[in-house]
């Protein structure tokens, strides 16, 4: 690990100013991803700003009937929150499907959103990687790419975003609240928070330098059955090959509305408006579910080892929709 200096501010303003003052610094919260990467020298910050003492660890009701989740709320505490368990089951299940009990006790809401890809070549500093070292090339294209993306990729990068939580937040239309070094606050819909790699895979979000995430807000729970289904290589404690977050509202055998987001497929949590449209006002059943799957994978491109993800996600989606409409 490279050496670094360390500070522990106690206000959001001080933290944002500290980051703006030292461009080669990083926030550390749970640290479960950042320290892993620092040990491998994939990340080499010269300065760490420990944000654990900031007052951002509450889950609060919002006036409109939603939830405001502080940036430092631990994944295990959020999953155990009675309001999440009662009204946001898709989020609770996604959180609990991620990592291990020990890691969920440390990992934070904002840190989970900002975790880096688990692409083997991003982790291997001896290999070219455009995300780690812009312009060096992508080893995954033409390399070993079984776990990597089939949607939203570019010729420069085919990483997947590893989060389960963010997939559920995407299907719930979550918003990210931030504070900048000058004190300005803004709210970014999660749908506009992440960037696709295109020619600049090193830029993963639309956060500005010195901007700190303070909370994630959820609108009131939408109507319908909520499901999170994760398919992985072992039964627990593994990243998704594909995952599906679904909120499906049905009446009299018809789908009234469907919200669908996917993990393991793309460099960001992938919401599919076309798959949702293919289901809306359709009779719940295998033909409509197959149509949604086909709409989802329009334009999907495998890189060889990961070609299997394209049929796998369609089958997983069909299974999820069957379960969601069982009593329709």
């Amino acid at each position: 690990m490279k050496t670094f200096t360390y500070e522990r501010p106690t206000t959001v303003a001080a933290a944002a100013q500290a980051l703006a003052a030292k461009p080669d610094s990083k926030f550390i919260a749970g640290g479960t991803n950042l320290l892993d990467l620092m040990k491998l020298e994939v990340e080499t910050p010269a300065h760490l700003i420990d944000v654990n003492k900031l007052p951002l660890d509450a889950v609060e009701d919002t006036p409109d009937g939603g939830l405001r989740i502080g940036a430092l709320v631990r994944n295990s505490d959020l999953a155990a929150d009675p309001r999440v368990r009662k009204s946001y089951g898709v989020l609770g299940r996604a959180l609990l499907a991620g990592a291990s009990g020990q890691l969920r006790n440390k990992a934070t809401t904002a840190g989970n959103l900002l975790q880096r890809t688990r692409c083997y070549y991003f982790y291997d500093v001896t290999q070219p990687c455009n995300k780690r070292e812009p312009g060096s090339g992508c080893s995954a294209i033409g390399g070993f790419n079984r776990v990597l993306a089939v949607l939203g990729t570019s010729d420069h990068c085919i990483t997947t975003h590893p989060s389960d939580m963010a997939v559920a937040m995407q299907v719930l239309d979550a918003k990210v609240e931030t504070t900048a070094a000058d004190g300005a606050t803004r709210t970014i819909p999660l749908a506009e928070f992440y960037r696709l790699p295109e020619a600049t895979p090193q830029l993963e979000t639309n956060l500005k330098t010195g901007e700190i995430i303070t909370a994630v807000t959820l609108p009131p729970p939408p109507p319908g059955v909520q499901i999170y289904r994760k398919v992985r290589d072992r039964a627990s404690y593994a990243f998704a090959l594909v995952s599906v977050a679904a909120i499906v509202d049905t009446a009299d055998g018809q789908v009234r509305s469907a919200r669908l987001a996917f993990g393991g497929l793309a460099p960001k949590p992938w919401r599919s408006a076309s798959a949702e449209a293919a289901l809306t006002n359709q009779k719940a059943g295998a033909p409509a579910f197959a149509g949604a799957g086909e709409a989802l994978v329009q334009g999907a491109k495998g890189s060889g080892h990961n070609d299997f993800k394209i049929p796998l996600v369609q089958r997983t989606l069909s299974a999820v929709l069957t379960q969601a409409t069982l009593n329709a």
Binding site: F4, R8, S76, A80, R85, A99, G101, L103, N105, S236
Partner: protein, 219 residues
């Protein structure tokens, strides 16, 4: 609680007499480990590249003050600077769970957190579980059910199990909990899911699950 400790007929003394001592106790006693193993070499004050800071921890009830390279993980602070070698370094990347300790009562991977991030915190390691001669019920249950083979993962398994039972007691759900709104019932399926952050290369899992189920009421 003392009655529970004797549930499996195993005391600290009997464990020490047997080969299981290192596995369930972490080490014979913390001081011995420190004596037997030289501590990390002192940091040269002339090295301009190294940043140090003072860190205060309470480990197993005893206050400890350290001056550490900022890069020192909680795991290395415990093992290399304080001699608590019961907490094991397995993968050092949060994948195996051998380094599990309790911080303010919650189980975490000591390898993926900096000692500096725990200034002022209370840490419990495997060496701090027993009460005098009496094993913690989870330690006794691991001995009784033979919940290990080589023993390397055992301190992490035991600390994780203690933390896991506390989470379950507080009603934390898991991904296999059928009804997220209900208080979870810890059947074997639940125990396996909740313990998935602890890997056992010897694959002693059936006996680990049995030990946890046995200790569930007592821990």
């Amino acid at each position: 609680m003392s009655a529970d400790h004797e549930c499996c007929g195993v005391t600290r003394r009997r464990v020490l007499e047997g080969g299981a001592a290192l596995a369930v106790l972490g080490s014979v006693r913390p001081g011995l480990a420190a004596e037997a193993m030289p501590q990390a070499p002192p940091i040269s004050p002339t090295d301009p590249g190294i940043s140090t800071m003072d860190v205060h921890l309470t480990v197993n009830g005893t206050a400890q003050s350290l001056s550490l390279d900022t890069r020192t993980t909680l795991l290395d602070a415990l093992r290399e600077h304080l001699g608590f070698t019961g907490t094991k370094k397995g993968c050092d990347h949060g994948q195996c769970g051998a380094c599990t300790v309790l911080v303010e009562g919650r189980r975490i991977n000591a390898c993926l957190t900096l000692a500096a991030m725990h200034d002022g915190d209370h840490i419990t390691t495997i060496e701090g579980l027993a009460t005098g001669e009496q094993l913690h019920p989870m330690q006794a249950a691991f001995v009784h059910h033979d919940g290990y083979q080589c023993g390397y993962c055992t301190p992490g398994q035991i600390m994780s199990a203690v933390g896991m039972l506390d989470e379950a007691k507080r009603g934390f759900p898991s991904v296999v909990t059928a009804d997220l709104k209900a208080h979870p019932e810890l059947d074997d399926h639940e125990v396996r899911e909740r313990m998935s952050g602890n890997i056992c290369r010897c694959s002693a899992y059936p006996n680990i699950v049995a030990a946890i189920q046995d200790a569930k009421g007592a821990a």
